[in-house]
Point group: D2
Chain length 106, copies 4
């Protein structure tokens, strides 16, 4: 399945409700943060959480990210891939294996 | 383009660096929240931000969301579509038009 | 020592820099979230973090909370105490002992 | 009124419910982030929010911050004041007046 299907479903959902006016980039950035907090709440007091509950909370985060990507006229998958290239450069595989620290940090 | 391409690129990126051990659902939920905060920082003092900067910060959020979806063995696009159905029910188009409040709230 | 000392130090700090205009409640709420994300980053990949680093990141969160309390003309300590009374009612000691779940949840 | 009163009230509240075991620094950092997201939700779709609602959501953020300060054996007011000194150095009053950008950034 393709992100294009999701993109169109979101567009229609927003259009039907006349909600585009609320979807300023700033509001969508706030919304991503708010929903990421609700996702985090699944793990507030321990490291294990019911997978169906986590999936349900998780869904809202990329939803708002996709709406923001739409406002910026960027493709969500493309920006993820582009960032992966940047991150690969910051953390070269041969030196980053198994470690989370940056090797070229000041 | 398809999420499958991104999914495979992420899988390879993680495998090359032996980072899977860090990708517990709890750590990925924390990471989504942390990156959503960095995205929000683009709009900390005003509502307008340089689009390329926003796109760059935005990329990290769905990246971690996709990694979490992988851990939960769910398809990110499918859970977004499934949640859209639930949200459509909470906010029926004919009553939600142009408003953000829930009509059936207690 | 008293919060009044901190309150005055913050007021002077802001006044000297003419930063009050940036301190709308919305911007201060965003700032609290952003800084909470930076605090969380100390624990992104594991549960243990260097205490001095945590203290340094922690400081920014109540700083913005106090600035927001100032904008709302409320006393930060008083609202914390008031909320404690509400929470004590939601989680009566005799029933909440050692558990995090709400007893009167629907 | 003094933070010592709040500190003791929080200590008693936690003791009565035997909740100290949940208050690891990592869990308290997550909690601060989660609550900061709920505070931010007051401003999700616009810049103006009902002050009593904001105060109520605000209270939870410094509450968790104080609990974390307790775990780190630091005084919340002292770390705020210490950070203010560091920030004053990053943003000297004579150069930072009315602007939010760092003058010594690379």
């Amino acid at each position: 399945m393709t992100s294009e299907r999701v993109r169109q479903a979101l567009k229609e959902f927003v259009r039907e409700r006349n909600w585009a006016k609320f979807h300023t980039p700033a509001n969508l950035a706030k919304s991503s943060s708010i929903e990421a907090g609700e996702l985090l709440e699944c793990f507030q007091w321990n490291d294990h959480a019911d997978p169906p509950r986590v999936s349900e909370e998780l869904a809202d985060v990329p939803t708002y990210c996709m709406l923001l990507a739409e406002q910026l006229s960027v493709d969500p998958d493309e920006i993820v891939l582009a960032k992966l290239v940047v991150t690969a450069d910051k953390y070269p595989a041969e030196r980053a294996k198994g470690r989370t620290t940056k090797y070229d940090a000041p």
